[in-house]
Symmetry: C2
Subunit: 111 residues, 2 copies
DNA sequence: GACTTGCGAAACCGTTTGGTTGCATGTATA
DNA sequence: TATACATGCAACCAAACGGTTTCGCAAGTC
């Protein structure tokens, strides 16, 4: 039940949905038409994406339009930043980088 | 069996391991000491990380040192890039962005 | 050679995941 | 009002996941 953005993007179908609704809101039916699964399966994915606030919905009549909560994607970017420092060789603040990694490792350990 | 980098980073313990070996190679025992699981469980995680080439190993005597394959982390960055364009409002090449998202969506559909 | 250490592999187990089918509800439309 | 449509939700199921225990093997150490 612990909804995590990293878990949310782990599934290829969900990444497909994210790509699909990144620029335009779509209804579950419209989304399901792009994949070879049932509408209900898509609905489940949308629920997971909604639970971790990666997706927002807007009801219009009997239709529900889903769209990407782009700000949430930054969370991945934040996590990636420390490693970007490494592959870019930016070790100016090696101390803080080490502290960041240590803190994160400790945080993960608690889960 | 489908080893995917996104699935690899989905697990919090694996993210902890990644943070831990990002700057220094460590043995399974040393890694396991940082988490409250068995060495064997860590070993399983290391196998998954190795399978998707996120981690490389070097045998020294009877010890095996695992370290992060930092280049592989760029793959996540590449995937994130299209969304970064969106949240940064960089729509200069809206056409190519749309094409990128379409292509990716199609790619995910096949899986 | 006998013993300890570091490790991976296999077997097993409870839980989660991703999918399906069937159903209930609310909204438009004839 | 009766009908069709768009959707979420519950129940169920096989497969995958994350963990443990047990084992076997290679490499050091006495």
């Amino acid at each position: 039940m612990r909804r995590d953005i990293f878990q949310a993007i782990a599934d290829p179908t969900r990444r497909g949905i994210i790509a699909l609704i990144a620029l335009q809101a779509l209804t579950p039916n419209a989304i399901a038409a792009h994949f070879d699964t049932t509408r209900q399966a898509v609905s489940k994915h949308l629920r997971i994406l909604t639970e971790c606030e990666l997706v927002k919905q807007e009801s219009i009549g009997r239709e529900i339009y889903y769209s990407l909560e782009i700000e949430k994607m930054r969370e991945i970017d934040v996590w990636l930043e420390q490693y970007r420092k490494i592959w870019e060789g930016r070790f100016e603040q090696l101390d803080t980088l080490l502290a960041d990694l240590k803190r994160q490792e400790k945080q993960e350990r608690k889960k």
